[in-house]
């Protein structure tokens, strides 16, 4: 495919190419499957608040959600899963469902709902990337969207109050992390020696939790105790993203386009 594939997503910080989980999933998958992706860091659109980010733009179509983007890339013959057996493919779907159901509410809570974290880390970061006056509105909308999602999916009776829901979702998230750690064991990736879709999803959800420094991160503490998951994130960052810590600084608003092509050319695994 010679047509350029352009991905619009939130930018990076703390050593990550992107701070947004779903964008990171797509970027990791593109690296694993060898798709040449041009990353465009967005900052001034309403799309972020509607949850449409990341967006893949090609010449003729626009694809919006991570699952659909991955399907699209697979159809373009960028497939990271061709070495998996049928059962492993089924396991991938199941573990992705587990992550979305158990881990995602707690990650959303840590980033967007926990007031210490939100006001000292998340909101300033996003506000610095969105021009005035949207910077006053968008982070608030994203936070309300996250709270809404948590309460609608997990806040069913009799857990009425947010505090009780919090206890439940953190417990579930810790259990999910333990399960993932047990599954990974000592191997380098989840299915053998080559990374696949499941590795992209796990990396996408864990890496922001691992790298971003929060004042109140009980889930982060739990993750740091699971050394094989931390080693997994570090391995992927070093081999596929090859970033020095200074390359993506928090306040680098002038960097509009990051051409991953030149980093891509250093990879020998594609």
């Amino acid at each position: 495919m010679a047509a350029p594939l352009e991905l619009s997503c939130w930018g990076g910080g703390w050593g990550l190419p992107s701070v947004h989980s779903e964008s990171l999933v797509v970027m990791a998958y593109a690296k694993f499957s060898g798709a040449p992706l041009k990353v465009k860091v967005i900052d001034n659109t309403w799309r972020g608040s509607r949850g449409d980010v990341p967006i893949l733009t090609t010449e003729d179509n626009i694809v919006s959600q991570p699952a659909k983007i991955l399907n699209f890339l697979r159809k373009q013959k960028y497939n990271a899963d061709y070495e998996l057996s049928a059962k492993q493919g089924a396991d991938t779907l199941a573990y992705i469902a587990l992550i979305e159901e158990k881990l995602l509410p707690a990650v959303l809570h840590t980033f967007w709902v926990e007031s210490d974290n939100y006001f000292s880390v998340t909101r300033p970061w996003f506000a610095s990337r969105i021009p005035f006056p949207l910077s006053l509105i968008l982070p608030g909308r994203m936070s309300k969207g996250a709270l809404n999602r948590i309460l609608l999916t997990r806040g069913e009776p009799p857990l009425y109050h947010l505090r009780e829901v919090e206890a439940q979702i953190y417990r579930d998230a810790k259990e999910c992390l333990n399960l993932l750690s047990n599954r990974l064991g000592t191997s380098q990736f989840f299915f053998g020696d080559t990374p696949s879709t499941l590795d992209a999803y796990v990396f996408g959800f864990l890496a922001p939790l691992y790298k971003v420094r929060f004042p109140k991160g009980q889930l982060q503490g739990h993750l740091q105790r699971l050394s094989n998951l931390c080693r997994f994130c570090d391995d992927i960052l070093h081999s596929y993203f090859r970033l020095s810590l200074g390359a993506f600084s928090c306040m680098n608003r002038n960097q509009q386009q990051i051409d991953l092509g030149e980093v891509h050319s250093h990879d020998s695994t594609t």
């Binding site: 089924a90 979305e100 069913e156 009776p157 505090r163 047990n182 599954r183």
Partner: protein, 378 residues
């Protein structure tokens, strides 16, 4: 109500006057009243399970007690009497405390619920499974919907697999009787547990478990596949019932509101539809078309079929709760008649899943003389 004490024997060192005034247990002096009640009456509050929403609640709770046509007649609730009897003080305080419990429970710290959970599990473990355990669901013929039927069948299959006797009772207000608002729920002894997750934990606390023989990795896989079924199959069923206009108009509204008079039937149906649509939008299914939903169902069935392969059950020889859950959903999809047959066609593409459903139906339902429930046989 209180464990280990015969009704009629007064508790030690408590005067009748003290009980009447609601001052009670000297052990808990100075503690919160709520905690005192919890210590005295068994199986109060929280969940025996940890990874799923839903609670186990005593039959003394206000919700059940107030419902007409509910479970009151079977519950030996002593009338509040100011006589020196062991349980009277308990029931009085419960009667007063119950009304207050709900608002106070909202501010309850999380650590308390963990301790209460352990307490409940202990209580659950001491009593064996009674003969008169009942499962409540909505009316089979006119009211129950696809997703509720699937959940109910999954619980029935699970209890059959554990060899625990259960009687199925159909009530129009089952959804409102349930402690978490979801059907089905089971009434065992003096505890009420709803939804498959907490029921599995509750049964495990009583000493019956289907997944003990699995190692850690297999347990992780089982949990992941159960989430997959809930995430995809259950959400697709809810979408089809409440967000697809054709089905909503022809089937769902009529069935959901059938026990109620006009205009309550319309109001309740619209309210529920609004709630479900809000939830769908929050999880990103609001903009999906029916075709995309059916594609997701197909993907899910393909994953289940690949995982099952040629084995009799998902984890080889012995059935687990995953088998019960998958059976519940697939059997209901196959045997429910909707406006079109696309959903069941997607499942019928996978012959090993069909054989799996037939095997479980024959082994656990027909052989034991029970007829498995179905809304309309296709």
């Amino acid at each position: 109500m209180a464990s280990g004490r015969e009704p009629g024997t007064p508790p030690p060192s408590r005067s009748a006057a003290a009980r009447r005034l609601g001052l009670g247990n000297p052990r808990a002096r100075g503690g919160a009243r709520r905690w005192r009640q919890r210590k005295r009456s068994p199986s109060t509050v929280s969940c025996a399970g940890s990874s799923w929403p839903g609670l186990a609640v005593t039959l003394g709770s206000s919700r059940l007690h107030r419902r007409p046509g509910g479970l009151c007649e079977s519950e030996p609730q002593p009338a509040p009497r100011l006589v020196a009897a062991g349980d009277a003080g308990v029931s009085e305080e419960d009667a007063e405390g119950r009304e207050e419990r709900k608002p106070r429970a909202r501010g309850r710290p999380a650590a308390m619920s963990l301790a209460a959970e352990a307490f409940v599990s202990q209580i659950a473990a001491t009593e064996p499974w009674p003969e008169n355990a009942t499962l409540y669901q909505q009316l089979k013929g006119e009211q129950i919907l696809l997703s509720d039927n699937a959940a109910s069948l999954a619980v029935q299959a699970f209890l059959q697999m554990c060899n625990l006797p259960i009687k199925v009772v159909c009530r129009a207000n089952a959804e409102y009787m349930s402690p978490s608002g979801k059907v089905p729920f089971i009434h065992v002894g003096n505890q009420v547990v709803s939804e498959l997750g907490p029921i599995v934990q509750f049964v495990k606390a009583k000493g019956h478990s289907l997944s003990d023989g699995l190692d850690e990795v297999q347990k992780a896989e089982m949990k992941a596949y159960m989430e997959l079924v809930n995430n995809m199959l259950l959400t697709a069923e809810l979408y089809l019932q409440w967000c697809d206009e054709a089905t909503v108009g022809e089937i769902t509204h009529a069935r959901y509101g059938s026990p109620y008079p006009w205009p309550l039937n319309h109001i309740l149906a619209y309210q529920k539809q609004w709630e479900v649509r809000r939830k769908m939008k929050a999880i990103g299914w609001g903009n999906k078309t029916l075709d995309q939903v059916l594609e997701d169902v197909d993907q899910c069935c393909q994953a289940l079929s690949q995982r099952l392969g040629t084995q009799p059950y998902f984890f080889n020889k012995q059935p687990t709760e995953l088998d019960a859950l998958v059976f519940g959903h697939l059997y209901t999809i196959l045997t429910t008649q909707l406006t079109n047959d696309e959903l069941s066609e997607k499942v019928k593409n996978y012959s090993n899943l069909l054989a799996f459903c037939r095997r479980i139906e024959q082994h656990y339902f027909e052989d034991r003389g029970k007829v498995s429930s179905s809304v309309k046989s296709s």
